[in-house]
């Protein structure tokens, strides 16, 4: 289109010559913000937390089970053993995965294999809507209704009564517990796991499925022999994403787990988690205690990042999952 009339278009060309590189430079800088922020996050928090980590040593910090923050401004005087919180985080996350995974697979199978085509989208949206519910509302609902009305009488109390002899279910059961928090956590991570696993099932190649049907296989047999085996790594990826979300969840868990700064093998114990402890004690924390919380934050970050990096590498191999709000 540029009709070259000498002298008539130098401004147009000149402007374009400047605009393009400037624009490119601008978006490139903007894009690297992510890397800068991430790097800053790591550097500043580790720097702030370092005195505590140095004072306790890595193993002292990770495995010590006494958390007794000091009150000094510039030195470390307390004991910072984060094991109770680390244990609580792992236990509640595990409970959540154990409950949510089979449910997510079943719901994803229903949506992709059983549901009439027309209601597939509405069904997916309904499950993903659960992901939009703010964490604080989950906590309130759990604390005021689910725990007292459903969990306590039908799950926690029977477990304590009938299985209290077994260390996993030893009392006393006070209400807040790893199990209670874990169950609500399962509901919270269900949407993201369902979204990922559903996507994996939806793109499962139909060639092999049709071949199996043509041999007279029932739907269950096609699912078990064809769909599930070839979806394995996608399911693992979805599980890890859910795990990452469960580990990082703060408010709902804080309201349901107990905040005791202690740990115990029993699932009915009112324990604590890393994220919950930070949120619970932050407001009244001394400068030294804040450093301790920073250290816990760093540990939380390391755990979550490892899980998420692993998950992304797995899920990426199958192509990006493009669910928006759930993820």
């Amino acid at each position: 289109m540029p009709v070259t009339v000498p002298g008539a278009t130098p401004t147009l060309r000149g402007r374009r010559r400047l605009a393009d590189p400037v624009f490119r430079w601008f978006v490139t800088i903007a894009a690297t913000t992510v890397l800068i922020v991430l790097a800053l996050m790591v550097v500043t928090t580790v720097h702030d937390a370092w005195p505590v980590l140095a004072s306790e040593g890595f193993f002292g910090f990770l495995l010590g089970d006494v958390w007794d923050a000091g009150y000094a401004r510039h030195e470390i005087t307390g004991t910072y053993g984060a094991w109770p919180f680390i244990y609580g985080t792992l236990v509640t996350a595990m409970i959540a995965i154990v409950i949510a995974l089979p449910l997510a697979i079943a719901v994803a199978l229903y949506i992709t294999q059983l549901a009439p085509r027309r209601i597939r989208n509405p069904l997916s949206y309904t499950v993903e809507m659960l992901a939009a519910v703010p964490s604080v509302i989950f906590g309130m609902w759990g604390m005021f209704w689910f725990l007292p009305v459903v969990l306590r009488p039908y799950v926690l109390e029977p477990l304590e009564r009938w299985f209290g002899w077994f260390p996993l279910f030893e009392g006393p059961m006070l209400g807040p517990s790893y199990l209670g928090a874990g169950i609500v956590l399962a509901i919270m991570i269900l949407p993201i796991m369902t979204a990922v696993i559903r996507e994996v099932f939806a793109v499962n190649p139909t060639d092999a499925q049709h071949a199996a049907y043509a041999l007279g296989a029932t739907r269950l047999e096609v699912i078990g022999n064809v769909v599930l085996p070839s979806s394995f790594s996608g399911i693992v990826g979805g599980t890890m994403l859910g795990l990452g979300r469960a580990v990082g969840e703060t408010i709902a868990v804080l309201m349901l787990v107990g905040s005791s700064q202690q740990w115990d093998v029993s699932l009915l114990f009112a324990g604590d988690t890393m994220a919950a402890h930070i949120a619970a004690t932050f407001q009244d924390a001394s400068p030294e205690a804040v450093r301790g919380l920073m250290a816990i934050g760093v540990a939380l970050f390391v755990v979550t990042m490892s899980i998420n990096v692993g998950a992304r590498l797995l899920v990426w191999r199958l192509g990006r999952v493009t669910g928006d709000s759930a993820v």
Binding site: R117, T206, D207, A208, Q209, H210, A211, A212, Y213, A214, L215, G216, A217, T218, E221, N225, V226, S230
Partner: protein, 277 residues
């Protein structure tokens, strides 16, 4: 390609229950999402015969084939009307289990689709599902021999089925299909993805399998139909309906010899002479 008196009795008239007919189709029509793909299909398909469905693309040949073992139901929005009788029974009756239909009526697809497991496990898949208790090794070897694949794979039974060539994969799929001892084997353009040598191998195989099974094959290749089949059904576009849409329909159904040398319908004559399609 002998002219079979039983088959001529059963061709193109009312679907009167007849001992020689495996399938009796009466006014069968299929539509996808409301749009009719093929209609007015009435014919009887004979036992232990090879019947070829030929015609230009988009006229419903594969659709009709998929009606015979209810594979159309796997496609969302697919509807079948009319009656398909197998051994005298309506396969779409409410109390019939589609899985049972498919156990008796097997299918080989256009693109070879072995499972991502070993050659052995591919053939053994069906029998295992059926709870086969006998000599599985023997069964697998038998099926592979019948499709002429045994000598080529006997030393790599545990290697992946996907590692075979296209022609070998297709023969593997045929072996897999006959391993469950169906009555009928449906073949949807089984050679269209294969080279000429592999194609000839499969055509020979079809001739041999005819003794034990009834075979219905959809093919684009007229010469193949002429070589391989006893009966031929010619499909083409029908007349326009009230909304102007032209669905596929059965034009003529007769012995292969008749279709190719002495067709009744001008359209058939035009097609086999290569004048269109």
């Amino acid at each position: 390609m002998m002219i079979d008196s039983q088959a001529t009795h059963a061709s193109r008239d009312e679907a009167a229950p007849s001992d020689g007919a495996v399938f009796e189709l009466t006014d069968v029509a299929c539509s996808y999402g409301g749009l009719t793909a093929v209609r007015d299909v009435t014919m009887n398909l004979g036992r232990n015969r090879v019947t070829a469905l030929i015609g230009p693309s988009g006229c419903g040949k594969s659709t009709v084939l998929r009606c015979l073992n209810r594979m159309n139901e796997l496609i969302p929005g697919a509807r079948v009307s009319g009656t398909v009788r197998y051994n005298g029974e309506d396969i779409h009756a409410a109390d019939i289990d589609p899985a049972e239909v498919r156990r008796r009526i097997g299918m080989v697809f256009q693109k070879p689709n072995p499972f991502p497991v070993s050659v052995y496990d591919n053939v053994a898949f069906g029998p295992r599902l059926n709870g086969f208790r006998g000599d599985l090794d023997g069964l697998v070897e038998d099926c592979l021999r019948r499709v002429g694949l045994w000598s080529e794979v006997e030393h790599k039974l545990r290697s992946s089925g996907l590692a075979l060539s296209g022609g070998q994969q297709q023969r593997l799929c045929i072996a897999r299909a006959i391993a469950v001892e169906p009555d009928v084997v449906l073949m949807d353009e089984p050679c269209s993805a294969l080279d000429p040598i592999a194609t000839l191998a499969i055509e020979d195989l079809i001739q041999q399998l005819k003794d034990s099974y009834t075979i219905i094959i959809v093919t684009h290749n007229m010469q193949q139909a002429a070589r391989v089949s006893d009966m031929t059904a010619f499909f083409s576009v029908g007349d326009a309906d009230s909304s102007g849409h032209r669905a596929g329909t059965l034009i003529e159904f007769d012995t292969t010899n008749t279709i190719f040398t002495n067709a009744s319908d001008q359209r058939t004559e035009d097609y086999v002479a290569g004048r269109f399609g």
